[in-house]
Symmetry: C2
Subunit: 240 residues, 2 copies
């Protein structure tokens, strides 16, 4: 399983992904599910991967190959919309190549894709395995893939477009904490990237390894604080 | 969709269920999903229903019919384990009768079942549509059906067997609040039943209609309180 989430705030974009992959419960591994295409001062493009690792890695490799080949690629796309189209093209290429050989486990890679190109607005997409995609808006400024439900209530409660980047980061960490508690197949480390609007560079990155002091402080304070709030809630009075 | 949850605490059992049913998004209705079989001083048996309404109602009707007929039934079962077996028998009866006529939407009723018979321990079960069942224990003292994920983190954080009934009720109401916020197809009113161990009566019941003052107080205080805790969490410091 996987948990990936990204939010689009007025101040910027925040991306977070877990890093557990498995082929059955007896074969776990750690892979970074966050890929960054960056050309400082021109564009930052971030992809979070869900689905079979062979599929997601193949798509990323095709995207890199196309950059090296100098053909239509992520670095010469004129807009984030066109970036999303080119990712979809790469996904369909891999789907056509692999699925006929894969029996009842067809290509199932999907991506959260976001970023900014110089002079253009930030955009955030979720690209389905079929290659079609949706874009985050002001009513729903976040997108999730994988084990999304456990971590959704806190985002629903806290995130609006005017939320600060610092608060957005806190919220995603709590969202991960809730998910990690309830689903063993989502695992640390957690990769976090915070993109400041119009900065056109991806320098704010942190990997939260198991035992990370900041993550532990957040989860402990949240746990103690919510228990305190809980204790103070009114008790139900039964009418006779 | 449905959300039903029950917890088994040292002090007693708590049951809660939503009451929304629908056949497509354009055909909503309200039905109580909580059924109580009570003989004061002898036994209290509570069932929470999930799955197609025709199936769950048919099972309940068969159980009532068997009581009226004086054959093996819930009121003469010697143990809660045997009660669970008799519910499973009724489910399989309806499954055999209906499924051959139902195309690709076979019998899918499932139940949370709990209660106590005089002189015996309280027990709490989840009975799957196939009629097999699991029992809640001290490590996992709660069982959920339907839209379970949104409301699970708060239960994971708060509930242990020694939690008081008053705190257990608060926790289930917050669990419902989280679920209602994230899934429109779970709807109020919420039916709540609190069974005090060895009381052998089911007199603590409350229906939370939309706009219920206590439910609103809980959700508002919880929302304000968690936001306050959130604000006080430490911000991430980026290392250069």
């Amino acid at each position: 399983m996987t948990y990936c989430v990204a939010v689009k705030l007025e101040q910027g974009l925040i991306f977070a992904s877990d890093s557990r992959t498995h082929a059955g419960v007896d074969n776990y591994a750690t892979f970074c599910k966050m890929t960054v295409f960056e050309r400082v001062g021109d564009r930052v493009i971030v992809m979070l991967s869900s689905g079979g690792l062979a599929g997601t890695q193949a798509v990323i490799s095709v995207l890199r190959q196309r950059i090296d080949a100098g053909v239509e690629n992520l670095f010469n796309a004129p807009s984030m919309f066109e970036v999303a189209n080119r990712v979809a093209d790469a996904m369909r290429h891999i789907d056509r190549r692999d699925t006929p050989h894969m029996g009842d486990r067809p290509f199932n890679a999907s991506f959260i894709l976001g970023g900014q190109i110089k002079g253009r607005p930030m955009q955030l997409f979720r690209i389905y395995a079929e290659g079609n995609f949706i874009e985050a808006g002001t009513e729903t400024p976040f997108l999730q893939t994988g084990e999304a439900k456990y971590g959704k209530p806190i985002i629903d409660r806290v995130i609006t477009p005017s939320t600060s980047l610092a608060d957005g980061i806190k919220c995603l960490l709590i969202s991960f904490d809730s998910t990690l508690r309830s689903n063993l197949s989502v695992g640390m480390p957690i990769d976090l990237l915070c993109y400041e609007r119009d900065s056109l560079r991806a320098n704010l990155r942190h990997r939260f390894e198991a035992g990370d002091a900041h993550f532990n402080a957040i989860r402990e304070q949240w746990n103690a604080g919510t228990r305190r709030v809980f204790k103070e809630l009114p008790e139900l009075r039964w009418s006779a």
